[in-house]
């Protein structure tokens, strides 16, 4: 995974709360078996039905930073929601509250899910509205996002931050514990189920 430190990109406001993953990418777009190419499904219903939807506006076509209302990414566990955001070009999403599974999925894919206060969310929306197309600067090590004169700090858990800044792969980290996993397995009770050999077939 690529190391993430400081970067800049156009910030787009998504002024909605409770954006569930069915809105981020409807189920009909989940049938691909590749890990890329999901950008066409991103907010597909809203992009199709609402001409004024934020990502339909030319100035936000290349947005890389999304500032959204609370309860972003609720519902289905589909990691495709993160892939769709990433494939569209987003590198960071800021919200006062993320659903747990979405936040976890983001961390695995190098998408920053930064938690901000509601007042900072309003201030970021205002800063973007005052100057649409403005670039935001993200400083992951310092946990700071800067839009023009506005500087806002965001929360991200220490472990995810460390992994993202170091560009580390989760599986690789876990496999360093091979001996502990094997020891755990060795004392696993006999009654615990096994799928093989198959019974009841």
């Amino acid at each position: 995974m690529e190391k993430i430190s400081v970067f800049e990109g156009v910030a787009a406001p998504l002024k909605r709360s409770s954006v569930d993953t069915d809105q981020i990418i409807p189920a009909v777009y989940l049938k691909r078996i590749t890990k890329t190419g999901f950008e066409d499904g991103l907010f597909a219903h809203w992009r199709a039905q609402e001409p004024d939807f934020v990502l339909n506006q030319t100035i936000f076509q290349n947005a890389e930073i999304l500032v959204t209302g609370p309860d972003f990414g609720t519902g289905s566990s589909r990691e495709h929601a993160v892939w769709a955001l990433r494939d569209f070009g987003f590198k960071a999403v800021f919200s006062p509250k993320f659903a747990d599974i979405f936040r976890g999925n983001s961390g695995k894919q190098g998408l920053i899910a930064g938690v901000i206060s509601e007042s900072d969310m309003e201030a970021m929306w205002a800063a973007i509205d005052a100057n649409p197309g403005i670039q935001a600067k993200i400083d992951l090590p310092a946990q700071l996002v800067t839009i023009g004169e506005l500087s806002v700090s965001f929360e991200i858990d220490e472990y995810t931050k460390w992994r993202l800044t170091e560009g580390l792969d989760d599986i690789g980290i876990t496999l360093q514990n091979e001996a502990a996993i094997a020891a755990f397995e060795a004392k696993r009770e006999a009654w615990r189920p096994k799928t093989l050999p198959a019974k009841g077939v």
Partner: protein, 471 residues
């Protein structure tokens, strides 16, 4: 080891801890059972291949096809090319990695969360994961069922563990006796309406109290299933004799001395006297009505006896805005009686409410009656086995005589990945779990209901309780 009283969730965590995380790192937790399906696994298998990694425990892994499989003409090749490709990818991947699979047409095929319990693979005291948020269903057995994303699916395939941050715990106390016509679905819809669709975030919920204890395993599964709709990572019910009776004799349930050892351990899986939950709520089962949603998230629900709420009465500004937006999408006006809302479609199915007990309850309501004109009712059993059992009991005939469509098993119209979708502007009473915008089809409107409310609604054509029907 300290003797501090701890909760059920904390016991499961303790008993699956492989490595304790230090300096802010998550704990490494062992996974007992990994369920997979066609939608969230292909990229995980690809990841293993690219990294040259093995699937560590194929004997703790099982696959089924459910999300985008058709529910009619299942003997034919899947018509939709992308769905067919995805299902074929699962068949190829499971063959290559030696994973057991129950494909369309197999008697053990069905919705992954119905298949695990019916095979006896789901049992108390396990950690169970699946690339599906409704994995919380399995918590009904006193196990920790966690929905995960595809990267985590790959992680479990490669290591049989997951790095997880500890959860907080919340007790959901439901005391009393449900009135006739009120069921497990109404309890969970009332819970979510009370704590909101994000109120469970960061928590494992433990459902407790006399109303929960008296529920069957099917009812407990319905409740745990929708824990994620309150934002929780998991939901649980402590195992008891009802759990053991459900499990005993199932294909993968332990036998002989192993059964005895298991039950002895399972009986310890209770929250200790004096253990403290991080949060606690209370629901009075005696006073509960059938519940139904009016909005576009599962927390936007009311008693079926009530009316569509007025957003201007909501004090929180973002909740008020969400309610206004929901009413616009749902094409509803404040003050309209819920029972005056007409539907085009009734969907009886999904991992929430498509087990045999759900089908029996709905069949008892529609038996000898005729479906309302202009209403379409689809009955989709949760698994091929449930379908077979229902047919053995003659339930298929009851539904067909009533005018409903009798389908093959799968996720179906719960999420409309297969051809079972609602059209733009269509309105459904659905026994599924999500009333999100567009969930059951682009522009479609969903009211979440229990199986008996679904059945009564199909009789009258408007949202109804069984008590609204003439004798």
């Amino acid at each position: 080891m300290s003797n501090k009283p701890i909760t059920l969730a904390e016991k499961l965590w303790r008993d699956h801890l492989v490595v304790k995380g230090e300096n802010g790192a998550p704990d490494l937790i062992y996974i007992d059972l990994h369920l997979i399906h066609e939608v969230t696994s292909p990229q995980a298998f690809d990841g293993l291949r690219l990294a040259g990694r093995e699937l560590r425990r194929k004997d703790l892994t099982i696959a089924t096809e459910d999300h985008n499989t058709p529910t009619q003409d299942i003997h034919l090749p899947i018509a939709d090319l992308t769905s067919r490709t995805q299902v074929q990818a699962l068949r190829d991947n499971t063959a290559e990695f030696g994973v057991r699979i129950h494909s369309l047409g197999d008697k053990n095929q069905g919705i992954v969360h119905v298949v695990g319990p019916q095979l006896g693979l789901t049992m108390p005291g396990l950690t169970i994961v699946c690339g599906d948020s409704h994995t919380s269903t399995h918590g009904a057995f006193g196990s920790l069922g966690i929905g995960i994303g595809t990267s985590e699916v790959e992680h479990v395939m490669a290591t049989q563990t997951l790095p997880l941050a500890p959860f907080k715990t919340m007790a959901i106390n439901v005391e009393g006796t449900l009135r006739p016509g009120v069921s497990a679905k109404d309890i969970i819809l009332a819970v979510i309406a009370k704590i909101t669709a994000s109120g469970g975030q960061g928590y494992v919920l433990e459902y407790r109290g006399s109303a929960i204890r008296s529920l069957s395993m099917e009812g407990r599964m319905t409740i745990c299933n929708m824990s994620i709709e309150a934002g929780a990572r998991a939901g649980m019910v402590a195992p008891d004799q009802i759990t053991f009776d459900y499990l005993e004799g199932r294909p993968h349930a332990p036998t002989g001395a192993e059964w005895e050892a298991a039950v002895q351990y399972w009986k310890t899986l209770q929250t200790d006297e004096g253990a403290v939950f991080d949060a606690e709520i209370f629901i009075d089962a005696d006073k509960l009505d059938p519940f139904v949603t009016w909005g576009t998230n599962p927390g936007q629900g009311v008693s079926l006896m009530d009316s569509v709420p007025d957003p201007s009465s909501i004090s929180d500004s973002s909740e008020r805005a969400a309610a206004e937006r929901a009413l616009e999408y749902m094409d509803l006006r404040p003050g309209t009686k819920m029972k005056d809302i007409p539907v085009n479609t009734v969907f009886l199915g999904s991992c929430t409410n498509a087990r045999i007990e759900d089908l029996r309850a709905a069949a008892a309501v529609v038996k000898g009656r005729k479906k309302a004109d202009g209403v379409r009712m689809m009955v989709v059993p949760g698994s091929a086995m449930v379908r077979l059992q229902a047919e053995a009991e003659g339930l298929d005939k009851v539904f067909k005589d009533f005018g409903a469509e009798w389908r093959f098993a799968g996720c179906s119209m719960c999420l409309g990945m297969n051809p079972d979708q609602l059209g733009v502007g269509e309105r459904a009473a659905s026994t599924s779990n999500r009333n999100f915008e567009g969930r059951q089809g682009k522009g479609a409107r969903t009211h979440l209901v229990s199986p008996v409310v679904a059945a009564a609604t199909a009789v009258r054509g408007t949202l109804s309780a069984p008590s609204d029907l003439e004798a």
